[in-house]
């Protein structure tokens, strides 16, 4: 059974058709790269899968369950975690509190109106484990506003991991990073558990191609090429639509 299946997915904003009947399947544990030039519909596709947008047509199936009509918080409960191209962190909170808040999202104790979140030792330990995974444990008590851009990118990934997702959507995790920071995030991506299915949008071709097992190339909202890394790279349409740019 596929970890994720997208069937005839379409999205229009009024008369503007952004996604045209896209279909593809992602197997459990697969690393899938979503490629395409600006305006191809990559982030819209992520927003549709994560539930930020409702599809105009088609369906999204997660591990055999149709989640097309579920709101984004229910999809998160089903196991979808994501990072954002534009950082959406809680800037006035510490790193550990950001991760604790992310970890609470799937826990029933998120509704508790008493007892401090800080007092939850189990939650705190779990958050520290996640921060250790992304090598941010040494600055866990630092405010997000006092961290570097690269550290914030890693925190984005940490927050998504804290949700214990089965499917992780990474939207340009290397965007805006220096060469050193890129290396650090790249090694972090390679350390992610193999059982985790990952869909990634990325323009840094060196990192992206080394990471991906299969690639889906979008162009003008349509799925142009879908296949293994070598198949897609050697395809004439890939060069014309994307690599030539």
């Amino acid at each position: 059974m596929s970890a994720l299946e997208v069937v005839d997915l379409a999205k229009s904003f009024g008369g503007l058709h952004v996604i045209h009947g896209i279909s593809f399947a992602v197997m459990p544990g697969e690393r899938r790269l979503i490629l395409g030039p600006n305006g191809a519909g990559k982030t819209t596709l992520f927003n549709l899968i994560a539930g930020d947008l409702n599809p105009s047509a088609g369906k999204i199936v997660l591990a055999g369950e149709d989640i097309s009509s579920l709101p984004s918080h229910r999809r998160a409960a089903c196991g979808i975690g994501r990072t954002f191209q534009i950082l959406t962190l809680f800037a006035n909170e510490t790193l550990i509190r950001n991760v604790m808040l992310a970890a609470l999202g799937r826990s029933p104790s998120r509704w508790r109106p008493y007892r401090s979140m800080e007092a939850d030792g189990e939650l705190r330990d779990f958050a520290m484990t996640i921060l250790k995974k992304v090598h941010l444990d040494h600055i866990s008590k630092r405010q997000v506003s006092e961290t570097s851009y690269g550290e914030r990118r890693r925190l984005e990934i940490a927050m998504a991991l804290a949700q214990k997702p089965s499917l992780l959507l990474l939207d340009e995790p290397l965007a805006g990073l220096s060469r050193e920071e890129r290396k650090s995030v790249e090694s972090l991506l390679n350390e992610l558990p193999r059982e985790l299915t990952i869909l990634m949008i990325e323009h840094d071709m060196d990192v992206a191609l080394a990471f991906a097992e299969r690639i889906a190339l979008l162009h003008n909202g349509k799925l142009l090429v879908d296949g293994t890394r070598d198949e897609v790279i050697s395809d004439r349409r890939t060069r014309e639509a994307y690599l030539a740019q």
Partner: protein
């Protein structure tokens, strides 16, 4: 420092009726507590949830009417009436929340304004129940406390309990989630939080606290009329929160103190007290944009830092001279 400030403020509040020159001033201090509670209810929505309401006095007024009608018209006991009024406040907030929370931002502001005006209209026009513009007088035996000093301590106890509960709530997972929904609603939804439900719970809690303020309002004035739920009253609630320090625990109470004192004390000396109020707000917004309490806190911190560095310098000078 916060703990010391809280203890000092509480100690002053406890001995205040003994220090104040007469019942008139005890009455004003009681008003500060009641409007501080009302401002706290506005703060739960605006400060913690990022939802600025322009109809919040509707909850205060509706609760005050509910209590007054129950005890004055139907002869219900004052304690039972207070409990029934709290239930009524929760019910009306649950109902209004279903309408208001379909929107955000400016639309939320306008919807809450409209809801507040509906409540005001009902109080004004449904004369057979509310006595219209003449309002309802409350007999002295229908009050929860008989003397002005007892009423002061009743209001103080309620405010302290509510602030203590709010302090716990703000640090709890639900309180932190509410602030998260205020700052990053999209992220919170992706993390698995039902942002609408969190805002709805906050709306009901805020409505109940406003209803509590309504019960106390009718205790101290022994009278309720549509004026209590006017747009001006709702706007004053928002001003109290913004001037005192939005999102802080004690800021709204401080803001309520400024407004109530200016209304009651400054108005005795000048007819132009609203101008004075406007100038004070202008000053606060320009000098301390995040409110009086955070502004004062910052000033105190700066003063402490400057004093410590001055002491450090003078100590090193003395040591050098000794060598």
């Amino acid at each position: 420092m916060t703990k010391a400030f809280t203890l000092v403020a509480l100690a002053i509040a406890l001995v205040l009726p003994a220090i104040l020159p007469g019942e008139f001033y005890t009455g004003i201090a009681t008003q500060v507590l009641v409007f501080g509670l009302f401002a706290t209810s506005v703060n739960i929505l605006a400060g913690l949830g990022g939802m600025v309401s322009l109809g919040h006095a509707g909850f205060l007024g509706a609760a005050a009417y509910c209590y007054a009608i129950l005890v004055a018209t139907y002869g219900v006991g004052s304690i039972a009436a207070a409990f029934l009024t709290l239930l009524f406040g929760a019910g009306i907030a649950a109902l209004f929340g279903l309408v208001a929370l379909r929107t955000r931002g400016l639309s939320f502001l306008m919807i809450t304004l409209a809801l507040g005006q509906i409540v005001w209209g009902v109080a004004f026009r449904y004369t057979s129940l509310t006595n219209g513009d003449n309002g309802i007088n409350l007999p002295a035996e229908a009050l929860l406390a008989s003397t002005p000093t007892a009423r002061y301590y009743l209001c103080l106890a309620v405010l302290v309990i509510v602030l203590a509960c709010l302090f716990v709530f703000m640090a709890s997972p639900l309180g932190v989630s509410l602030k998260g929904v205020r700052d990053q609603p999209r992220r919170m939804s992706t993390l698995g939080y039902n942002t609408w439900a969190i805002r709805y719970v906050a709306y009901i809690i805020s409505g109940v606290v406003a209803a509590l303020a309504g019960i106390l309002y009718v205790q101290i004035f022994q009278f309720i009329s549509p004026h209590a739920m006017s747009l001006t009253a709702s706007s004053e609630g928002v001003l109290m929160v913004i001037s005192g320090g939005i999102g802080t625990l004690f800021g709204p109470v401080l803001g309520a103190g400024i407004v109530v004192l200016l209304k009651n004390v400054a108005s005795a000396y000048t007819d132009r007290w609203p101008t004075l109020l406007g100038l004070i707000f202008l000053f606060i917004i320009l000098v301390m944009p995040d409110g009086l309490l955070p502004g004062l806190r910052r000033m105190v911190r700066r003063a402490i830092t400057a004093f410590s560095s001055y002491r450090g310098r003078s100590y090193s000078n003395t040591s050098q001279e000794a060598h």
